[in-house]
Amino acid sequence: MPDEFHDAKKLWQDQPMEAIPMSLDEIRRKAHKLLRRAQWAALLWIVIGLALSVAFAHTFLQDHGLLPRIGWGFLTLWSLYGACHAYKWIWPGNLAEDGTLRTSVDSYRSELERQRDYALHIWRRSGLTFCFLGLAFVVLPLIVKALATPKLLVNAVPFFVLLFIWFIAFFFQRKRGRQRLQREIDELKALASEGQS
């Protein structure tokens, strides 16, 4: 039996090291690069949001039907909300003072809680209410019009069935994911309270 199997610690500590430059200049350059990248990403979302809002507002002005106009109005609001949201949530800020300094269990748990809360509030944070209301108002008149020619509606049935199945699968999967996260959070809470006592 080779000796290395007897001492995992020695094996681990003696592993060959790569020469990776980590000078202060390198670190500062990386910090600067990361900040720029994050700013560009946020800027991109803001520009996309604003461009969409202009396009929807333009369609709002062109359309003459009341319901579609309400729909385009909602979509304009949604894209403006998206741009504001990008500025508020994605624009890089300073590192939270305790963000990296908590004990590992606390830090891990708060990351999981953040993921759980994000999944819980994604509807509100993404302004999806505006989006779906807008789409509904835009599509509704088209459906009403299509009622005159039922063949069109029959053709659209597979699409709506698939959409429905997708919605059910999506919500079911999200619920399962949330339950799994919650289980892990509860386990970590129990471990942390044991550690404090």
Partner: protein
């Protein structure tokens, strides 16, 4: 920039240089425990160093420098693991891996181990399958930290750490015994 800020920035740089020199190799090993891909590992290591440098702006000596360094490094690496959602679903605890190895047919285990050419790859394979907290404990154990130091870093009780380390030793023993038998 005011005088206090200047002193703080100098201290921050000084602390970072000291840590980069002392903890450079342990941090590299820690990155290996969290990331298998060499390119992504390099990025993770750079991220750890960057966050360490940033964190020293707030270093108030409420814990030892070593505890501070390991906390920051593990927390950054944990966030890195959590970002890979698909990978996260497959992670297991030490208890689960112990049962899994126990129940795995010997031939399967040998085959799995034989695919890893180096003993170090075998350890890494084992560690990278663990959930972050268990991973922190095994890395701390392999780095030679005692149960109390690991407890201070992780926030778990020393008794809990001791129990987990006992399990880790069992897992490593079985894992390497199979590998050694196969190699022999």
């Amino acid at each position: 920039m005011g005088g206090t800020d200047r002193i703080s920035a100098v201290t921050q740089d000084h602390l970072y240089c000291e840590v980069a020199e002392t903890y450079g190799p342990p941090l590299q090993r820690l990155a290996r425990a969290y990331e298998a891909d060499p390119e992504a590992r390099r990025d993770l290591l750079q991220d750890i160093h960057l966050q360490l440098w940033r964190s020293f702006a707030h270093f108030d000596q409420r814990c030892s420098l070593r505890t501070w360094v390991y906390r920051v490094a593990h927390n950054v690496a944990t966030r890195h693991v959590l970002r890979q959602r698909r990978m996260r679903k497959k992670l297991v605890s030490t208890e689960e891996i112990e049962v899994e190895i126990e129940n795995m047919p010997t031939t399967d285990r040998r085959e799995l181990i034989a695919n890893q050419n180096q003993a170090l790859d075998r350890i890494s394979l084992l560690i990278q399958r663990l959930k972050p907290i268990d991973r922190q404990i095994i890395v701390s154990y392999l780095e030679g930290l005692d149960a109390n130091s690991t407890a201070e870093i992780t926030g778990l009780s020393a008794a809990n750490i001791a129990m987990k380390i006992h399990r880790i030793k069992n897992v490593l023993k079985r894992w390497f015994h199979e590998g050694a038998s196969h190699a022999g």
